[in-house]
Symmetry: C2
Subunit: 297 residues, 2 copies
């Protein structure tokens, strides 16, 4: 195996960062603070996992990864919007994000609400434009837009965050926690993998397999997040640990314990990897899936 | 003149309300509270001015108003999202909206953030679906999606709200206030009028005239809002009066005074009406424009 997951991730991250900021207006306008706040949160880094999944699935479906670059930029914005609103005082009230002050700490609460709103909206302009300019087909653009709206809205990510809120300080079942994770985290990763296929013009079977891969990756990723919140430290993680328990969050780890959670994450990851048989040249995707369960931050 | 503006508005409102709620998920799901909060704010009524503009411009471009019904529902959701977030404690901190408790008063602050997010996202699924199912052409759907994202995001409505925030308790020029209004209120009305034309397959000249009509209608509408905040009472208006001054808001009335503001609203309305020469059968649009400047609430 001569796959270097970190290196490939970093290449995709570079492509994304080079393209992503060009979609923002200049900051020398009357609403410059808004653009600065959007830029600040988009710059906060992270693994850029979502853009990588979009472009890699486009590649394993036989098209240049660049074809899906606008979609990759779009999903990183959707993800960032959700982080900004998630950190707000009325939500998780997190002062730190990736080791830096969260958006409302740096810019103020109203500014963070608006920056999140703007980053929730901009992705649709980017994808529609890619369709209108024939970078991807118009049909693909419409299907990707519908999918993003479905999987990030009330039936997907945003719905999952509401379940998360309502589960605080309650005893909920394992099934409810897993459904919450499916929506809160799985839905957006499902989007990434499926949208990469759609951008490449792939058929239904590949779209379905990619969606299942992303869905399961999201579950394993979220369970691993919960584990790290219990066993990691603030320096390694770049944010405070133990916050789930402090906030009365209902997590899979709380229900099942760390050891069972580790096993579950691993077995869901294996299920994810099985979906890759629909594609060729999937070493990176397999190693990426394994590394996400095995990560330290 | 046998045009009854109220009656036609009410017919369009009925069409919108009949169609709009069908796009929401059922409330008997794990994220039921989110759907209830979305439904609550969408039900709060109002004139449904924006859907009426979308459908009426589709009609004066020669197509059935129903063709643009999905777009009409979508824009009412975008408008409602902006109201929910605008009312938040960290924004305008308004407890009342159209005489009822605002969303965060009825459901909680985190819930209101999420309900706004979900209503910001859902419109794109609705418009994309209309294009995929050929209710409007795929090309029209992409152009309408791009326009909605542009005019409601950082370059439009959301950008205008940021300017509004930053102008509080400051002396800003008439030009800045008018630019703020253009973005905060004009952009969404520009969208409505233009999108109705695009849905009908109208050409560039009609799109341009419709956009200018909407833009000016928005300016006049916002100036009238400011005037009413000074001269109306809470019972007639359905929300507290004098809140602009109390919040240190920078308004056109504050800069120009009530009398000049009334004149400006009227002269901008006349400019709007001149744009209608690109269309036939525009009695309703003309009377509507005049009635918006002349309204009591």
């Amino acid at each position: 195996m001569n796959i270097n997951v970190k290196e490939i991730l970093s290449d995709y991250a570079e492509m994304t960062e080079e393209a992503m900021f060009k979609y923002l207006p200049k900051t020398d306008c009357l609403q410059g603070t808004l653009v600065k706040a959007m830029r600040y949160s988009l710059s906060a880094g992270g693994k850029r996992l979502r853009p990588a999944l979009v472009m890699e699935f486009c590649r394993v479906c036989g098209k240049e990864p660049e074809t899906a670059l606008p979609v990759a930029c779009a999903i990183e914005m959707t993800h960032t919007f959700s982080l900004i609103h998630d950190d707000l005082p009325c939500m998780d009230d997190d002062d730190l994000r990736r080791g830096k002050p969260s958006c409302h700490k740096a810019f103020g609460e109203a500014e963070a609400v608006l920056a999140g709103d703007a980053l929730a909206i901009l992705p649709y302009e980017i994808i529609a434009e890619a369709g209108i300019k024939n970078r991807i087909s118009g049909d693909a653009a419409l299907k990707i837009i519908r999918l993003l709206s479905e999987l990030s809205g009330c039936k997907g990510m945003t719905g999952g965050q509401m379940i998360d809120l309502e589960s605080e300080n309650k005893n909920v079942s394992e099934a409810v926690v897993l459904e919450m994770y499916r929506m809160k985290t799985g839905a957006l990763l499902e989007f990434c993998c499926k949208a990469g296929c759609i951008a490449a013009g792939a058929g239904a079977a590949q779209q379905l397999a990619a969606g299942s891969f992303g869905q399961r990756l999201g579950l394993a990723f979220q369970i691993t997040d919960d584990i790290l919140d219990v066993i990691s430290d603030e320096k390694t993680l770049g944010k405070p640990v133990g916050s789930d328990a402090a906030e009365g969050k209902c997590t899979y780890v709380k229900i099942a314990g760390v050891e069972k959670a580790k096993q579950t994450a691993l077995s869901i990851t294996k299920q994810a990897i099985e979906q890759l048989s629909e594609f060729n040249d999937t070493d990176f995707l397999r190693e990426l899936a394994l590394s996400l369960t095995d990560r330290k931050f």
